[in-house]
């Protein structure tokens, strides 16, 4: 765990350093300690771009894998992730409405986009909570979630088909994900939506452990299944919805990181697994961000593609080479 923290700090510093304007490690450290070593331009770049970008990566990197872990435990399915409930499809639908439907483009649209995506995610969440009050079988809920997301994806593809080229391009770019668009007030909102819920998840460690044997055993050990399920769904929806609204979809780290944490720590106790997942997630997303900036070049890769390209081999490796270490 200590090693991971060190790795995270190192990667975070590297992440801040990277970019077309040169800021050295020494300057960053001096700055963080409060002394005035940086030029005006460096300060703006650091405070307006690089630090918010790092903060976004840390928040999303911690939150998405936690959602994935909770979903994997709740559904007792190693392939579950934050997106199985259809939350991100809801967010995409909201974004599509704004970008494709209203034709809004450019910077002005960023706020509208976030709000619409958030509303879309919220809509799916309400639907999901409504369903989970009525349906007892958790697998049915899983199937419904997958159906919601496929249905929404179909609607979005129709909207894409009939939209203008410019609108289509900005929607496609949104759907590639970005950590760089969250600044100022948006970052504050994101922070306040995510941090309390991440903290809340620590209150559910015992319950998550109890769920490992399945819901039947969980009930006989005193766990209130319905309540647990609703809290987990609501937490996951808000976390995933918020991140997707501000950053677009960020693929695979939600599914892959919990498996990495299980592999690194060889544990299935959520008391270890939950913080391990958060930490691993932050490391992976910051690393992905560094890769996406393609050090040495002027170009930036879409973050969603990078996380997928990192996540997919990990999942494949875990499934094929290391089946035994998967604890689900």
């Amino acid at each position: 765990m200590g090693l991971l923290v060190l790795l995270l700090v190192a990667l975070a510093l590297l992440d801040i350093r990277l970019g077309s304007v040169r800021i050295t490690f020494a300057e960053i450290i001096h700055h963080l300690r409060g002394s005035e070593h940086l030029s005006e331009q460096q300060l703006i770049i650091l405070n307006k771009f690089r630090l918010p970008r790092l903060a976004t990566a840390l928040l999303a990197g911690a939150a998405l894998p936690v959602c994935g872990l909770q979903m994997q435990t709740l559904f007792r399915n190693p392939l579950a992730g934050p997106y199985v409930l259809g939350i991100s499809s809801g967010a995409s639908f909201g974004a599509a409405l704004v970008v494709l439907g209203a034709g809004a483009t450019g910077i002005v649209a960023t706020w509208n986009l976030a709000v619409a995506a958030w509303l879309g995610a919220g809509m799916v969440m309400l639907l999901l909570l409504f369903v989970s009050f009525r349906i007892k079988d958790v697998m049915t809920i899983l199937i419904l979630g997958i159906m919601f997301s496929s249905g929404l994806a179909a609607v979005i593809s129709i909207m894409q088909f009939f939209s203008q080229a410019a609108a289509l391009k900005s929607f496609v770019i949104w759907s590639m994900g970005s950590l760089g668009n969250v600044t100022g007030l948006q970052l504050q909102i994101m922070t306040w939506a995510i941090l309390p819920l991440l903290l809340l998840s620590f209150f559910y460690l015992k319950v998550l452990n109890g769920l490992m044997l399945g819901e039947e055993y969980a009930v006989t050990m005193g766990i209130r299944i319905q309540r647990t399920r609703i809290i987990i769904f609501a937490t996951t929806s808000i976390l995933t919805g918020t991140i997707t609204a501000f950053c677009g979809p960020i693929g695979f780290i939600g599914i892959a990181v919990p498996h990495m944490a299980r592999f690194i720590f060889r544990q299935s106790d959520h008391k270890i697994l939950l913080p391990a997942t958060m930490l691993t997630g932050m490391v992976v997303l910051v690393l992905s961000d560094i890769i996406s900036q393609m050090p040495g070049t002027e170009r930036v890769l879409p973050i969603n593609a990078v996380t997928s390209l990192i996540g997919i081999p990990v999942v494949i490796w875990l499934v094929i080479v290391n089946r035994k270490s998967q604890s689900l």
């Binding site: 015992k206 044997l213 055993y217 009930v219 006989t220 050990m221 005193g222 035994k324």
Partner: protein, 334 residues
């Protein structure tokens, strides 16, 4: 408060169970378990054994009637309090996570720990003790999916035991187990009874149940009968249990046996005694009746070369050097 409710760890009154409204699997069920009693639930597949057990502990809603757990109605308990009164071992073994033996058994302490699940010294020592008791003390870090059926079942039972409840309910705990494991498991359960726990378990193994249970619950034709094994034996219910399936209950050996109308009768002679017994059991398996004065005769003998079987039938005599060949001939011939 009636006597039924106060002196029993669990009492079912006029219970109806099932999943379909208006189509109960069992209804009018009146059963009870006293503290320190071991009850075996017997019944054919699909008669509602699992449903009865699940309804009894609140996993499946009851359709009608009442269930009193340690004197109070089941519904008056919150889940945590209920989990301190009754523990459960499911018959389903699929989809267990690959967590370690120690982690799994520790889960049993959940109803007794705080919201963070912090373990006190007492919790830990209980877990270690239980693992010693089920002889899994040296498997603490073994993953659940690396255990044999017998080991896994013992671990599941240790988990239920550390839940420290006066009542333990187990759904077919001896299914999938070989004979030594089965007896080991029954020995564990009777050990828990000695410690004052009440145990209700379902099983298809009537013989073992008759050896250890204080009481049987037998489901037969939508009815459920309750009594000491011997009471039910006298009532003749065992003979009726498998009506029209060719299976009857042999009271002499207190065992079920499969009978068809015999394919023929054969007389058996010779020595040594144990070869005769095994030959007889082969004939029984093949559906022949062993009868003195029958048309066919098998003579068993033992010489320097080994055992030999001489079959005399229709004035022909054929010799065989093992039962397998004899059996093959008998099946083809008749």
């Amino acid at each position: 408060m009636t006597d039924m409710q106060t002196n029993h760890i669990i009492a079912l009154e006029n219970l109806a169970i099932g999943y379909d409204k208006g189509n109960a699997l069992l209804s009018g069920v009146n059963l009870s378990v006293r503290p320190g009693e071991m009850v075996a639930l017997i019944g054919r597949n699909g008669t509602g054994k699992s449903t009865l057990l699940k309804s009894m502990i609140g996993l499946v809603p009851m359709m009608d009637g009442a269930c009193y757990l340690d004197g109070d109605p089941l519904h008056s308990y919150d889940l945590r309090k209920r989990a301190q009164k009754v523990s459960y071992v499911s018959s389903q073994v699929s989809q267990l996570p690959s967590i370690s033996v120690l982690e799994l058994v520790t889960l049993g302490r959940m109803p007794h720990t705080g919201w963070m699940g912090r373990l006190e010294e007492q919790d830990r020592s209980m877990v270690t003790q239980a693992l010693e008791e089920v002889q899994m003390g040296s498997f603490l870090n073994r993953k659940l999916d690396q255990l044999s059926d017998g080991e896994r079942q013992r671990v599941m039972i240790a988990r239920a035991f550390v839940q420290d409840t006066p009542l333990m309910v187990l759904d077919e705990p001896t299914a999938f187990l070989d004979i030594p494991n089965k007896y080991e498991l029954i020995r564990l359960l009777t050990g828990f009874r000695e410690k004052g726990k009440s145990i209700v378990y379902s099983t298809h193994d009537l013989e073992t149940a008759m050896m250890c249970a204080d009481k049987l619950w037998v489901i037969h034709r939508g009815q459920i009968l309750e009594g000491a094994p011997e009471d039910l034996g006298i009532s003749g219910v065992f003979n009726r249990l498998f009506d029209a399936t060719g299976i009857t209950f042999d009271e002499d050996v207190r065992r079920f046996k499969y009978t068809e109308s015999p394919k023929g009768s054969i007389q058996l002679m010779g020595e040594p005694e144990h070869a005769l017994i095994w030959t007889g059991s082969a004939l029984e398996r093949l559906g022949f009746e062993v009868k003195d004065g029958a048309d066919s005769l098998i003579q068993v003998s033992k010489s320097e070369q080994g055992y030999g079987w001489l079959l005399s039938h229709n004035e022909r005599t054929i010799s065989f050097e093992n039962i397998y060949n004899l059996a093959r001939f008998l099946i083809k011939d008749k």
